[in-house]
């Protein structure tokens, strides 16, 4: 017992010595600390996924996190804002570069409406996104929409800070090799 404690202490001391400024383990590349493979597009580095690994730029996770998979809507509206159009321009570019997968646009509403109306309203929102993407050249057959009404709130408080995040249309991509 006592011996193993001493050994453990030695390992900890060794590890802390190594962490002082040197890349002994080759974390940033094995040959002299070269970083050139990890600058990513535009020198911005790679985006890490939840597991700490760089995201594959052709993956749905990259689409969701980097391109932006959702657009938001004002109260009781389905017209696309300027910000939403910018996001959808990015989506259409990426989706055209990554053909083959299925694209589902999920429409949502906040809780400040009746159930039936919110299904119809969220359908309008999803359809606005689909129509925009089709106008940008995506084939209609690749796109489907699901209106969720107020059934799937992302945020659960009952004020505008949550409502604005719930009034959304989310573009969900599936069936890619990078999935």
């Amino acid at each position: 017992m006592r011996l193993s404690h001493i050994l453990l202490l030695g390992v900890v001391l060794l590890a802390s010595a190594c962490s002082r400024g040197e890349d002994a383990g080759g974390l940033f590349g094995g040959s002299g600390g070269s970083l050139d493979d990890n600058f990513g597009p535009g020198g911005a580095g790679s985006v890490l996924g939840p597991d700490g690994r760089p995201l594959n730029p052709a993956s749905p996770a990259y689409f969701a996190q980097v391109i932006g998979d959702r657009v938001l809507f004002p109260v009781d509206q389905h017209q696309l804002t300027a910000e939403a159009r910018t996001t959808l321009d990015g989506q259409s570019t990426w989706l055209l570069q990554n053909p083959g997968g299925q694209i589902t646009i999920e429409g949502h509403a906040d809780e400040q409406g009746t159930r039936d109306y919110n299904i119809a309203l969220s359908n309008r929102r999803a359809a606005a996104v689909r129509d925009y993407l089709v106008a940008k050249g995506l084939p209609d057959a690749r796109l489907s929409i699901i209106p969720f009404g107020k059934e799937r709130p992302l945020e659960v408080c009952s004020n505008e800070s949550c409502y604005q995040k719930n009034r959304r249309a989310v573009t969900v991509v599936t069936g890619f090799p990078g999935a």
């Binding site: 009746t114 659960v156 009952s158």
Partner: protein, 447 residues
């Protein structure tokens, strides 16, 4: 009904022998009878001594049955059950004449007396008998009646007794022997699990008709109360399904092939009216069940949804945002432009036509608050019955005098529960359910 309406008349009333104020609904001016409106303002006193147990084994059931009848009638808000501790008389023999002099002293107003008996048999059957009396005039109201059935149906027998008493005293049909289908909800607000459940109108005998693997919304009864039509996400998208309440078999309705929701049966059960999405647009269609033939009823680019037939099947009330906001419209059941009937401040949705045909109930959203309200079918005489953070989706009791709806509380812990309210706006009550509950649909009176 000998209740005096104005204090000034009170002194006069004492001087005259049995003065009678004529009531519209009185079949016979010499009996107790008021209207639901008058009783809801001033509940009628009711004495209901424990039903006589005809055999020793029936004693517990007699108590339970009496309690349930009292709960029904007292819970309606129209009757004021007098505490048995104050009773002078006893009913120990159902067939013996009532000694009215034992009962008249316990109330200085008109008093209804309900007597009953319960007998059980060794083969598991129950016989319930009752008689209803006008104590002041010392006469029976209607004829004595009995219900017999398996012991497991005792709650329904009690509700049948309650319906008879309610009907004889108000002149209108009751609603106690009826059921409510609803959506039972569990889990956090961001990931609610929903399943269809059914219970008696008082919250008893809850059973689940679907599991919670699929999002389900807004179940509504067929006119024969054997099937429930509802919206399901079983295929991934909203579709309309029909569920057989006995066998629990479900099937997709209508082979529609596009997003469909908000279904309701026609009063004759031959057609279903619903909303279909086409592109960004939502319109109302009617589908003939036998032929599967589909007819489009609205054609504006606005959202048209939440259709509900008039009880004679000739008209449909629905909501549309064609004016720029959600409002209510009435159109012929064959379709057409429709006539707008809602003109107050705010938005109106989820209209439902009363089974009596006289009123339309709705959800109103105004100034950040939700209300359940009623209006005449031409939109006049709008009255709001409730107000809260979120009240939604009224459904009519079979007699058109009570509404059930769901109320959702605000915030992270916000959740829905079922409520009832009179169309007078009185007697707002929460219905007990085992978990969160929404989207109630009230059946007709059971046979």
């Amino acid at each position: 009904m000998r209740q005096v309406l104005a204090a000034g008349l009170m002194a006069l009333a004492w001087l005259l022998p049995a003065p009678v104020l004529a009531q519209v609904n009185c079949p016979d001016e010499n009996t107790i009878c008021g209207t639901i409106d008058s009783f809801s303002v001033k509940p009628l006193p009711l004495a209901a001594p424990i039903f006589v147990a005809e055999n020793p084994g029936a004693a517990d059931l007699a108590q339970q049955l009496t309690d349930l009848v009292v709960a029904d009638l007292g819970g309606s808000g129209l009757f004021r059950h007098l505490d048995p501790a104050g009773y002078i008389g006893q009913i120990t023999n159902f067939d013996a004449p009532v000694r009215f002099t034992d009962w008249s002293p316990i109330s200085d107003e008109s008093l209804a007396l309900l007597t009953g008996s319960v007998a059980t048999t060794s083969d598991g059957r129950v016989v319930v008998k009752f008689r209803l009396w006008d104590v002041e005039l010392q006469r029976e109201l209607g004829a004595g009646q009995q219900f017999a059935g398996p012991v497991g149906t005792w709650r329904r027998m009690a509700h049948k007794v309650s319906d008879q008493v309610y009907s004889r005293l108000t002149g209108e049909a009751g609603y106690f022997d009826s059921r409510i289908v609803f959506v039972s909800e569990t889990g956090p607000k961001s990931d609610r699990k929903k399943r269809i459940a059914v219970m008696d109108q008082d919250g008893a005998r809850v059973t689940y008709l679907t599991d919670d693997s699929t999002l389900v919304l807004a179940p509504r009864w067929s006119p024969d109360d054997r099937n429930v039509i509802y919206t399901s996400y079983a295929s991934g998208q909203p579709e309309v399904r029909v569920l057989d309440v006995q066998t629990l078999e479900t099937r997709a309705f209508g082979n529609i092939g596009q997003v469909a929701f908000a279904p309701r049966f026609s009063p004759d059960g031959q057609r279903v009216v619903l909303s279909l999405n086409e592109g960004a647009n939502t319109d109302i269609y009617v589908i003939d069940i036998a032929s599967g033939q589909r007819q489009r009823l609205t054609s504006s680019p606005a959202i048209e949804t939440a259709p509900s037939f008039s009880p004679d099947g000739s008209q449909i009330v629905f909501e549309s945002d064609r004016s720029g906001s959600q409002q209510l419209y009435v159109m012929p059941a064959t379709g057409g432009e429709g006539t707008r009937i809602s003109f107050g401040n705010g938005k109106y949705g989820t209209p439902v036509w009363s089974p009596r045909g006289d009123l339309i109930a709705f959800t109103k959203i105004n100034a950040g608050r939700f209300h359940i309200g009623v209006m005449r079918t031409d939109g006049s005489n709008e009255r709001l019955l409730t107000a809260s953070f979120l009240d939604e989706a009224p459904s009519w009791a079979p007699n058109g005098r009570v509404l059930t709806f769901f109320r959702e509380t605000a915030g992270e812990g916000g959740a829905p529960s079922l409520w009832t309210v009179d169309i007078t706006g009185r007697n707002l009550k929460r219905l007990p359910t085992p978990s969160f509950a929404s989207d109630p649909g009230w059946s007709g009176l059971l046979p």
